[in-house]
Point group: none
Chain length 249, copies 2
């Protein structure tokens, strides 16, 4: 309860989520980049070569504490379940209609918005998949030379961590006017509930368009940043609509 | 003469000077970091393994133009002979009494001061020697975790180049303009549709709380600022849920 009280009012240090990272060396380099600017919470989603990875330590150049505390998750949704704000880092233009922020803007939001932020970084070769990006409320893009955009994983991490670190030590009062968005897990609960009702109602047709339709719905429901109370209200709405399907007595 | 005239009045892109760099791979990575943020002028002072270095190209990941145009000098003094402003990058505190600037401050100076700026980066292991620093008018230090300062050469270069690029205005990615919210009538249509379904489902109970509940729901659905397409998607969702209430045939 004390933690909840705190979480509801204070911004906490952001979590760096490496999604399906390939090389242990790059995980180590990312840890080093993080710790250089005071970030310590790393989460790994299904790292290709398992975890722990013997190549990570040497590349971390002494940022062992970040690697030792790193947590491993089975899915992006699990990794960000307790996070109120999720950013997806991409360098390429996406067809997704989400707000796009720079590292400067993201840092300002993270420092002032109450709740925990997570920043997703994709695999070295391919970057984040569309489904990963769909989980995020905003896209984080580093403004880069349009004719030569070639940031590696650790470089993307260090630029984001560097910008975040600038706001540290400044006495910025956190925004308290609005309740923060609900943790991602509660949003997932809402999406799952609606999905189940729509499945039963025959909404998902024709089959070949179902993945796109699901992404669209997720995007529509992720956009608002509903807080926990609002999510509860909507769960009540869905339960009522669901109950109506029982035969009248 | 024409060039001199220009040089005297306009700031030009800064020169990145790698002083006695050791590994060709790190020279390549520095070139990549530079080009990511639009810097192309690299100068090398007595690179340990000579120049060109076959390890540099692969590490540059396509930033070949920076390596091809790199110039080699016998001394730091030669390398900065045509530069009006010289910065020495260090992470450690120095006994030297010179102004110390951050990358942000250096970028502002470089963009506004007429003339050419050079930024010195030292060898990987040892950093700049005292004699190198003595040539500079100011020390450039990246504010870093005091308990873990471990920037490698390419990371130091990328942070400086990144800050410089912010003043360029060229490197901004095209912002995806989000569709504006739908006209209010369309939102009212959605709210009315849901209201009708909830009325039929027995959601509005007890009667004395109905006005408050309606206000809450309106607030939850107004918050997102959904665009016309998103509203249409949600109308489809409601129609599907509504259709389910028909008796199975």
């Amino acid at each position: 309860m004390c933690e909840q009280y705190q979480r509801g009012r204070e911004a906490v240090n952001p979590v760096i989520v490496l999604v399906r990272p390939q090389l242990g060396e790059n995980i180590g380099k990312a840890a080093r980049a993080m710790l250089n600017f005071g970030l310590t919470q790393m989460r790994l989603v299904t790292p290709r070569d398992g975890w722990p990875n013997p190549s990570a330590g040497p590349a971390a150049s002494g940022a062992d504490i970040v690697l030792e505390q790193a947590q491993v998750f089975e899915s992006v949704a699990d990794a960000v379940a307790d996070c109120e704000h999720v950013y997806a880092t991409t360098v390429r233009k996406r067809g997704v209609t989400k707000p796009v922020v720079t590292p400067v803007e993201a840092a300002a939001e993270i420092h002032t918005a109450p709740g925990r932020s997570a920043i997703l970084f994709g695999p070295e070769r391919s970057g984040l998949a569309t489904e990963d990006v769909a989980l995020a409320r905003a896209i984080l893009t580093v403004p880069i030379n349009p004719e030569f955009g070639s940031l590696n994983l650790a470089q993307a991490v260090i630029l984001v961590a560097y910008e975040w670190s600038k706001g540290q030590g400044l006495a910025q009062p956190p925004r308290t006017d609005l309740d923060p968005p609900a943790p991602q897990a509660e949003l997932e609960g809402l999406i799952g509930h609606l999905d189940m009702l729509l499945e039963r109602s025959g909404f998902y047709y024709p089959p070949d368009r179902v993945p796109t339709t699901r992404l669209t719905l997720r995007s529509v429901l992720t956009k608002p940043g509903w807080n926990a109370q609002e999510i509860r209200t909507l769960r009540g709405v869905l339960s009522a609509l669901e109950g109506k399907k029982r035969p009248p007595h």
